[in-house]
Assembly symmetry: C2
Homo-oligomer: 310 residues x 2
């Protein structure tokens, strides 16, 4: 799989020795690890090898961006049954390489082993460029909450896949191959973001982590969420819902759907935000997360495992 991997601009020693060496220009390294496991985070009957490679890489790469850092390198541990087709493994490598390349990272190391379960553990490394890391704990009363990237598309895509609906293929693709806006992370840090997280569990759940870590209350305004037409159509198809219920379902996906890996951050209220950052709420004294001043009804987080038909 080695030759399919991007070397990375900052890689001094890549795959093939005891360990890799990656330049850390600003004198510190940002690091995160995430696993994806068959049956829990993906299904081979929906996901190609390429899809799984993209998703496994994106989950870890997004964690680095959410600290305000630029991705530099990935290390990939792959456990797979001996029955895994070689063609599938090649696609997996291509997906990992493609998403690492999109984030500007090299794939610098790895390990492979046989196991009864197909699983990947991806470690991502990044560099802060001299900036302070943007933690979950820095949100201050008076800050605004803004988001960059898609919301609800992965959840809509999963619902379509589970219902066997082949329309709105772009939403299914968003579930199978999330495309986090990596460069929005360092951008937010440069703009003075006070706290940031990537939306992996769902917007409300992840803002709950920020609220807890910062000791603040986050209130969102539902008027800031305009579900795109495709989301509403997907909700109508997947849930056989009328227009009103479909709009509510689409909003619910935006508030609680996970795995899009959008970035959500708090900024001082006077910050001039570029167009891709959408203000959706504000930080107050207190605790917890509300929408229009009330606690959102319905599931607050993402169910990773969702057997088709349930």
């Amino acid at each position: 799989m080695r030759e399919r991997m991007p070397p990375g601009a900052l890689t001094t020693v890549g795959i093939g020795d005891d360990a890799a060496v990656v330049v850390a220009p600003s004198g510190s390294v940002v690091a995160a690890v995430d696993m994806v496991i068959e049956g829990r985070h993906f299904h081979r009957y929906w996901s190609s090898g390429h899809d799984v490679g993209v998703k496994a890489a994106a989950r870890s790469l997004a964690d680095i961006a959410a600290m305000g850092a630029v991705n530099t390198a990935l290390l990939v541990a792959l456990a797979a049954p001996g029955t895994l087709p070689v063609s599938w493994a090649k696609e997996l490598a291509a997906g990992l390489a493609a998403e690492a390349g999109r984030a500007g990272a090299g794939v610098v190391g790895g390990d492979t082993a046989s196991a009864d379960v197909l699983m990947l553990s991806v470690t991502a490394l990044g560099d802060l460029g001299g900036r302070r890391p943007v933690l979950r704990s820095g949100a201050c009363p008076g800050d605004v909450i803004a988001v960059a990237g898609a919301l609800g598309r992965s959840a809509a895509g999963l619902a379509l896949l589970a219902a066997g609906i082949t329309e709105h293929a772009a939403l299914a693709a968003a579930h199978l191959r999330p495309q986090p806006p990596y460069d929005a992370g360092p951008e937010a840090a440069r703009l003075g973001a006070t706290a940031m997280i990537d939306v992996s569990d769902g917007l409300l759940a992840d803002l709950g982590h920020v609220a807890d870590a910062s000791g603040v209350h986050v209130n969102l305004g539902s008027g800031a969420f305009e579900p795109e037409e495709a989301l509403i159509e997907a909700a109508a198809s997947a849930s056989r819902a009328d227009a009103k219920r479909a709009a509510a379902q689409a909003l619910n996906w935006m508030l609680t759907g996970g795995e899009d890996h959008a970035l959500v951050a708090s900024f001082p209220a006077a910050t001039q935000l570029p167009d891709r950052w959408h203000v959706i709420g504000e930080v107050r004294e207190g605790a917890g997360v509300t929408v229009d001043d009330v606690v959102h009804e319905g599931p607050a987080g993402w169910q990773h495992f969702f057997p088709p038909g349930e």
Copy 2:
């Protein structure tokens, strides 16, 4: 498991945010990942949770040392069945923490998920202190080959465990909880080592990687290997062998047994080596690895999976 983990002297942001931040004092980071999987790298009927934690950490920490770097941080991904006893998981955390601490590393991040298989993926980070990394590819004809750390003890311990022999508990312990000489790695780099690797597959197999990468021939002198008495006794017990065959088996364990994670390196011949570095051979022009100028008979590498009774 968080509170059981050593924070690490160079950790700026530890467990609990999207990613960790670790100081990289010399402006680059050394990184390696290794997996351990139940049934393949360990068995729960021999290994306690503490043992597995030590072994999983040691495998990755030794890779960093083998580059000549000092360990700074570990990230641990754990997949485990829901039936895993909490007490076992606590022991696992304690073993990881103990071995990370022995190497001077913090445990700065992780991920957990449920799976049908118990497996750990451990990523180790390290710092070179301004030194160049010691690669596998730098051995030169005329260099000496020297080793620091134990050889053959893990293989002897495995043979004893497989035979159900409870004597020589220190050898079984060496198999269950390898103790690589981490600080010998940076020491070798400071002494001018031209190539280095940790003995994970077996001395001859790993020197084969060095010979291949460096384009040289490595010849070892059997006279440099004096099996300790316990190894010979273990060979006699586990193999029901006479004294001569037991001595041969002990030597074979030293040459081909893996998982002790000793460090083996090449040095310019004039290097003044500290006592713990034992000269065992020399580098010549050519290819391959020999002992007393002949290719060693018998298995050159380590069989990771060894069903008891076979």
